[in-house]
Symmetry: C2
Subunit: 398 residues, 2 copies
Amino acid sequence: MPTDFTATRALFDLPEGVIYLDGNSLGPLPRAVPARLQQAATAEWGQMLITGWNKAGWMELPTKIGDRIARLIGAEAGHVVLGDTLSIKVYQALASSLEMNPDRRVILSDTGNFPSDLYMAEGLCRTLGPEYSLKTVAPEDVMDAIDDSVAVLMITEVDYRTGRRHDMAALTAKAHSVGALAVWDLAHSAGATDVDVAGGKADFAVGCTYKYLNSGPGGPAFIYVAPRHAETARPALSGWMGHEKPFAFDLDYRPGAGIERMRVGTPPVLQLAALDAALDVWDGVEIADLRARSIDLCEAFIEQVEAACPMLELATPRDAAMRGSQVSFRHPEGYAIMQALIARGVIGDFRAPDILRFGFTPLYIGLDEVAGAVKILAEIMETGAWDRPEYKTRARVT
Amino acid sequence: MPTDFTATRALFDLPEGVIYLDGNSLGPLPRAVPARLQQAATAEWGQMLITGWNKAGWMELPTKIGDRIARLIGAEAGHVVLGDTLSIKVYQALASSLEMNPDRRVILSDTGNFPSDLYMAEGLCRTLGPEYSLKTVAPEDVMDAIDDSVAVLMITEVDYRTGRRHDMAALTAKAHSVGALAVWDLAHSAGATDVDVAGGKADFAVGCTYKYLNSGPGGPAFIYVAPRHAETARPALSGWMGHEKPFAFDLDYRPGAGIERMRVGTPPVLQLAALDAALDVWDGVEIADLRARSIDLCEAFIEQVEAACPMLELATPRDAAMRGSQVSFRHPEGYAIMQALIARGVIGDFRAPDILRFGFTPLYIGLDEVAGAVKILAEIMETGAWDRPEYKTRARVT
């Protein structure tokens, strides 16, 4: 049965008069979340108190939800766990990788990677010592830069600015061929594209849940460890929840079984409850259908914008196979244009220096919204409505 | 005006028929939290979507709430920030300390410290290399073990099992006298005792909020960096939210101003909203009043239990100055006794191998509950009601 995207759309609570093309920054509120949050706060925390860890199943939420996400990223069940933030999960994956490849000292990434991934790698190298380094090349040069000096390749599958998609299987195969490991950041691909970490042979994968998985602001991150590494990867961030027996309160750390060892501290139960409710939206969704519809939406947007707004330059690859589920255009006045759009109810995002970014999430966006957004964008460009001082004052967060 | 603890008690939603002496594991639900959570989910996330980061002030929550906690731990305003879990904050504090003391290789702690702190230190040492080590001594031997080999002293102010309280000022002074830094874990003292990180000259302090600060299961942790280190401590976990300009998306990390650099990833807005509401309880509370009443409650409990239950052995120091806000007793059948108590509505906690642990939080516990709990405990001990098979089967979480 093909996925019913009219039905999924009805599961979201979107404000009237808004065309929301920024689900790749923060997904909108699924209707089921407020009630689940209330349940977690009042019926669970309020009434069960400390016994909620057992009675309400809080302790198992990180792995139970991990299995729900595993299906969406092509991972084997039992090999994904939730917790912390994406930056922390990047650090865990990198530190484990470097420890598993002890004769090498280079983390390879690209300049299109999300800066926090690069910052975490920098921090890890500084902790490890001056012989360790982070090397970054241009996105299109990654394949050629993978050589036998590389300990671990760290790549974000879909570029947060341009929407360019890296070929996970090909880059990972090249990494493996020279004895390197591969860590994949799925921040802009989990829930957006047909991710396949098992098929792509990723060693580690990490991602966040507040974008296309709609868990709400600051929702927890996830980490995947390939089954072949599950019992050998040692966590550098060795917290009690990743211990073999957390409640034995032993003085020495022993890693827990498999993916459990990637847990660190006490799980954020309220945010996990919100995420759990948000994932209900995915129950009837086939990823192949999602991907097909995402491509339709992006193609339609590109075609219509290029026809109506010739002054905008496409920053996203034209080949659908090379894209995630977003479309970006460049314009020197991109910031002001985005503010004018937002003032008219079309919410996208601006990324320095000149990128207008639009995310297309088939769960709640259809061809009507594509046409509606293009109409407003075209009006703004034709009338120069963006050229007002209040659209040029930059807020701290955009 | 003295603190009105009748008023603070009315701010909590405690189940009928329960005497809750486990606020040192998980604080109960403040009545203001559910509405604040709903507001964050529906009015903020649901309606503001991505603009909530500015319009609802989400981005500033970690430092704004940090200032509210600063008052409760004797910290200077502007030097506490929220985020992550306590284990992650321990790692940050230790990694920064070791980097600030580069000629030394030893982390000194004690065997009464919470195991996750020790595990995180172990993990950090493994990442740093074989020349680094974690040394643990008995709690009473810490002072003598501080010598000029020690890079950083890592101590939890109040012992999670026995309630024994270390002397922050004295141990920190000794550490400084030999050129070591001091990291203090306030998990069992923030909101429970008269913590004074500035007066005690702590270099770093960390703590969790889901115990005596009542933020709910998995609420975020906090970190304090002494003002003298604010601009020099370099975070090993260098995430984008700790960058000088997160939204410039620079490729290189530059630490943010002061405490901001201890932020890592995207803050958990829903859990922070719950915490913010939970902290309203503290608005009229003077810490000196809290401490005085905490001592009264603990003294009364010790006196009454020792009179009624001579077979229980006090595990907590008899001198109030040497205690936090909990009282522990030992008994070989401690686990079964605690299950019998819980079955009768007195919720305390068991900690292996033989500790019955009772937390006394003046915000919602009074002398009536002390007497009520002792009455039930005495009945259980006199009748041997704990000696039933169902009380001896151990659940995963206790």
